[in-house]
Symmetry: C2
Subunit: 766 residues, 2 copies
């Protein structure tokens, strides 16, 4: 049974007291609710163990250090003393330990039995971040002893915060008022108020309050009886300025913990579980016949669901989700190209938040175009985008461990495909959902401004009568400042196409809105240019002999060395292979899928033969130095019938975070944390790759490339606002339309196209 409980949880029965293991488990066992993430650390851990409560959408910068998200004080802190001796997994002998992450509802649980002075002491705690009340953390903490014992519990708020580039909080105050502990502070840069409140629900012991330098605690003394289990519940709330109309974050936090305490643990959990159940109904994918793949895929989907932005927040999803401050909490192209497809196919209300985030940060993209110039117009989206859309990526983005110098990279100023990635996603949402409201709300403006940026960026080559896109970085970041990167040129072309389609659509349906928009951004003279450029832009052609598309001008002239040979040249384990003089720069070894990524995103523009030729050429030359790479190779491998390869790459992407074996240093920069783009890639490989689903404005096409060991693959699809359940086997495709669907939609399997009416079940053989 695939829904057997062990396919709905991640668990370990040992505790390894090493910094590295604690860091990796902090990632694997993290919980999150879109508002904040809480790393998978134990109750008694502190900043040295990378306890982190990372908040979405609030950033801060200290001095010249990198701007990054703010971590909140830890209202989940509890320590315990047995007969005067502190009990901690870091210090005390452990008899048994188990920690578990429940995927059904994002609940973390730990149970540890310690041996202290000949007695056994068991701590059992569980916690969840409410998706019903996103500001709320709820914890149940229990303990029992094998003999009568003097117990001291110290529980409260720890504000000695783990930060990569902090401290971000100043004017920190801790107070106790009507039995609620409150820590409030302001951020360093913008003075945004932040408050964490904590209330407990305990029916034993005598409590006093202790105000330490970095903690505010309740101290409870009791004589615990042998064998008896003592439990209490903790409710902690985090509020930041923008969460409350009056900035009164202390009051909001205080109110919420009181409200939660009044409701009680079980009620809070129930409201949380109901919402989680709905999420899984929408988003689960069931693989029949492969437990390893099932768990890895479900964990990947789980990772995406826990960081789905809170409704109405207009937040997006950072590249390391809410697992910490790595990558500055920034939003990359990862979101549009690797996560957005999952949401738009299964959970469009989350997709809307992701798109709104880009609409709301359009001015930041305009500012970037202005400042990166000269002569850039329109919207050049940030490579690393925070709350305003201004660029967070530094020009010197990677440290060189050999010279200790910071290396200039051109991710920020030359990875121009980002604007097209954003624009294409805006249009994709409309195509998939039929919902044009976002176009009117700003999506059309985003699209036109991105096209305008490309028009200002591209050059015309008169003697070849074509536009070219020069001096860029493609997805393969080992090769900077290249000309006519095939991927980028295609993104630019499609952006022009999308811009023209947008104008055409608005003209026919909303002519007044179009006129207003054109007047507002004064773009009427430029649209003919977009049309010409979309026709005349140069797309590198497959070689007539080999079928291979050259990744960029003169790529073939680079040294054709194997990955193994290249790695022999490494002189420092953390050295970066790109950036000017890295060892891959002058070779054909690429960081990640680039031409193959193009063939994945724009799969209908290339024949199977061309995809095969390119997969076979580039695959051995890819170093997979990015977690985005594996899924592109997986999907194209499935597409060309290399399902064994597809499966291996699928497992690589799907198991990335559940195993957490990834490299955590690039150059001198710490990069640990979760990989939602790879998780999105796992879902895409299952649904787009093996199930072979591809939907456009006209129809849903399913051309399966099933993996031989899988009996079936079952998943849901929301298309044009209607819901479908699909099951794909090695022989047939079953499409079930919900009764509540509003209209029939076309489904096509292996060239056979049928309209699937509401409530209808279609069974295609193939």
């Amino acid at each position: 049974m695939n829904d057997a409980s062990n396919l709905w949880k991640v668990t370990t029965n040992r505790f390894v007291n090493e910094k590295e293991a604690i860091m990796r488990n902090g990632n694997i066992y993290q919980i999150s609710n879109g508002y904040m993430g809480y790393r998978g650390t134990l109750d008694e851990f502190r900043s040295e163990e990378l306890v982190g409560i990372t908040l979405a959408g609030i950033f801060d910068k200290v001095g010249d250090a990198w701007r990054e998200p703010v971590n909140a004080p830890n209202g989940g802190y509890t320590e315990i003393y047995v007969d005067g001796e502190e009990v901690s997994a870091l210090k005390t002998a452990i008899k048994t330990h188990r920690q578990t992450l429940y995927l059904k509802n994002a609940k973390f649980e730990r149970k540890t039995t310690f041996t202290v002075k000949g007695k056994e002491v068991t701590i059992n705690s569980e916690r969840f971040l409410s998706i019903d009340k996103p500001n709320l953390l709820v914890i149940k903490y229990s303990f029992s002893c094998s003999a009568d014992t003097e117990i001291i519990i110290r529980t409260g708020i720890d504000f000695n915060i783990w930060d990569l580039n902090g401290p971000h909080l100043t004017e920190v105050n801790s107070t106790v008022s009507r039995d609620v502990l409150v820590v409030d502070a302001k951020t360093h840069e913008a003075g945004i108020p932040l408050a964490v409140a904590e209330a407990i629900d305990m029916n034993f012991g005598a409590e006093k309050h202790i105000n330490e330098k970095n903690r505010i605690l309740r101290e409870i003394n009791l004589k615990a009886e042998a064998g008896k289990t003592y439990s209490f519940n903790k409710y902690s709330a985090v509020f930041k300025g923008q969460d409350t109309p009056d900035n009164n974050v202390k009051k909001a936090a205080d109110d919420l913990v009181n409200e939660a305490k009044n409701a009680g643990y079980d009620e809070c959990l129930k409201a949380h579980n109901i919402k989680w159940q709905k999420r899984w109904e929408l988003c689960d994918v069931i693989i029949d016949g492969d437990k390893e793949a099932q768990l890895a895929l479900r964990y990947s989907i789980f990772q995406l669901l826990i960081v789905a932005p809170v409704k109405g927040s207009s937040n997006s999803i950072p590249a390391r989700a809410l697992s910490g401050q790595v990558y500055k909490g920034a939003i990359f192209w990862d979101t549009e190209m690797f996560m957005f497809p999952f949401f738009v196919h299964t959970y469009p209300e989350v997709a809307i938040e992701l798109l709104r985030y880009r609409i709301n940060t359009l001015d930041g993209a305009r500012r970037k175009a202005q400042s990166e110039g000269p002569g850039y117009r329109g919207a050049f989206y940030a490579w690393e985008s925070q709350e305003t859309g201004d660029e967070a990526c530094t020009y010197f983005n990677i440290g060189d461990p050999i010279t200790k110098r910071n290396l200039r990279t051109h991710f920020r100023d030359r990875q121009v495909h980002i604007s097209g990635d954003v624009a294409i996603a805006q249009w994709e949402y409309f195509k998939m959902t039929g919902d044009d409201s976002l176009l009117l709300e700003g999506g059309a403006e985003v699209i036109l401004e991105c096209a305008r940026f490309y028009y200002s960026y591209a050059y015309f080559k008169k003697n070849k009568n074509r536009y070219e896109v020069l001096d860029v970085v493609g997805p393969d970041e080992y090769h900077e400042n290249v000309h006519n990167n095939a991927f980028t040129n295609m993104v630019v072309k499609v952006t022009f196409e999308v811009a023209i389609a947008t104008v055409y659509y608005l003209k026919s349906k909303y002519p007044d809105e179009l006129k207003k928009l054109i007047d507002k951004i004064k773009i009427s003279d430029e649209i003919d240019g977009f049309r010409e450029a979309s026709d005349l832009i140069y797309l590198p052609e497959p070689d007539p002999e080999t079928g291979v598309i050259e990744q960029f001008d003169a790529y073939y002239k680079l040294e054709d060395v194997s990955r193994e040979e290249l790695k022999k040249r490494i002189i420092h384990p953390d050295e970066y292979m790109g950036a000017g003089q890295g060892i891959a720069v002058q070779t054909q070894i690429i960081k990640q899928a680039d031409v193959i990524m193009m063939m994945n995103i724009f799969k209908n523009r290339f024949s199977r033969e061309i995809k095969k030729a390119n997969w076979e050429y580039y695959e051995p030359r890819t170093e997979h130095g990015s977690s985005l790479s594996a899924c592109a190779y997986a999907m194209v491998a499935a597409d060309i019938g290399k399902t064994d390869y597809a499966y291996n790459y699928f497992l690589k992407t799907a198991k990335l975070d559940i195993e957490a074996k990834y490299k955590v240093y690039v150059g001198t920069i710490f990069m640990g944390g979760s990989h939602p783009a790879a998780n999105g890639g796992a879902w895409m490989t299952a649904v787009f790759g093996f199930a072979g689903l591809s939907a456009d404005a006209e129809k849903v096409t399913i051309n399966p490339n099933m993996y031989k060991k899988w009996k079936s693959l079952t998943f849901n699809l929301i298309y044009k606002g209607d819901s479908y359940s699909l099951t794909v086997t090695g022989k047939n495709v079953v499409v079930r339309a919900m009764k509540s669907n509003r209209a029939g939609r076309l489904f096509s399997v292996n060239g056979k196209t049928i309209e699937c009416q509401p409530g209808q079940e279609l069974n295609f053989k193939y």
Copy 2:
């Protein structure tokens, strides 16, 4: 008196027995005759002391090592034994030592008195490379002892050759025939035959022949009488395959040494001296009132004259002249931009050879355009050009002493200004001499093919209605892959202008030749494009506030750090500051004059105010990591009236080789050797800078910027084939036309323009 003998020689009275000093003296005291260079080493020195006889126009490549000029076996070798003990500056106690380089006739002399076993032994030798017979080396060797002594002289040919990337000679044979020693061999790559013969003229002692592994020697024993001076003469000839119609290099060398021996030392020297006298009559510059400057300038002129290519050879001048194999013996833009002006103004028959070299290597430039592509057309001249014009510059041109890796530089593929430098010089010769024969001989074809290359390289920016030149390296090599480098864009524009002027001139005067040329290279459709591009090419404008021209797009965005601050970041003394991640790359510190070089070459296109603003901006930001830099700053400083600065930079460039204190390692690459471009810069600073001479097709303009300590500056000029002597003082300019001149020419001083008739003397006050 400026022609006092100590202003015509370089001399030292000490011998420093250290590798570094021997290497530097080898450069300072080198002699050359355009056919070959002979480093300033002592008779008894061998390859360890960098004895080098470097040949012009013959190159060889061994394995994967760099292709470089061939060094010939040393027919000047002599060692001496006193009472059985070898006498050598490297081993024997030296009582006195003097070595002298005579500038009047490029003669090297050494006189050393050794103390050996209580006796004093004096060796006195002198040598010259004949400019009457360029294959010939002539030596007079004398010795005397303070007491009767058993002497053994071993003299002959040493073929243990110093090579940077050798050995280049294979199949080495040494023979003795009719009292002539001959070593013959072939080059490794192309099998070009090479022979060195040696004859001596000696009237004492008994001779036998010794054939060692790497030497063929005569051994002469004698009992030398106390106080008596013994002398003999050595004649050595070098011939390479292309010097003889039948490849019989052995016979040619044998014949020449016999001929020379028959004529005798004095006759050989006399013929040599007569030609040298003529050279100095044409080329000397006399500074009255500044001995230091006089000697340094004369030494600089001397350096240019010794490497003037042999008439009819179509050789050019390598960047390190014939001082060794450094820089692969290659010809750079140095020749056209820094040496050609000297020759075209004083000694046009040498200028012709330099231009013919480029005409003869046009096919190599075409091949480079083809192979560097994609889509390049026309002539992309080699950044480092050898005998065929194919590119000798490697993509990995500099070694990194920190990582021991070779650094990718873009000198080869992006320093595109080289083609324009070549084209402009072809036109400049015509403008200065009025001689259009070289245009017809191939110069026009060179110019059109260079313009064609630029047209294929440039891009059009539609929304700005302009051409741009992207992804180049300007003279400032610390900043690679830049866009719209002001210098390069100007060179490209002028190249288009010159191409159009060439077409216009040929059309009016040689319409049939023009038609033939256009048909031959099929360029008729492209000439309108050149015209449009010359109008619409983007030239970065001076900032309206500051007057400064930005060196390239976004240069101002780079870190504005001082040279001193930057140097504190150095972690290895030999690390290169450019190439991808060098410490200057992301700063405004530049390697050498770039914008200022543009204002120097194209001086009439910029106002004095703009030059001043740019000089003041860029001078403190220039690291002078190239020997080409100082003279550009000197000339523009003179032009804007900063004559003290001009003087300091003048001395820097003029004293570079006479002091030989330059850095000899860049990265891991040995760079020692002479700097003919800097020497050309010294002449240009005197004549163009301080005398303020600038000649164009219409007239000669003289706007002096005299240095306050100089009483006068006297020099010759050949203009439109006529000869003039000019004297500039702080107050007036005297122009004397030779009686033999064919026509009157316009001279303009301070706005006053007068035609100077044959035989006339004009005296302009200013």
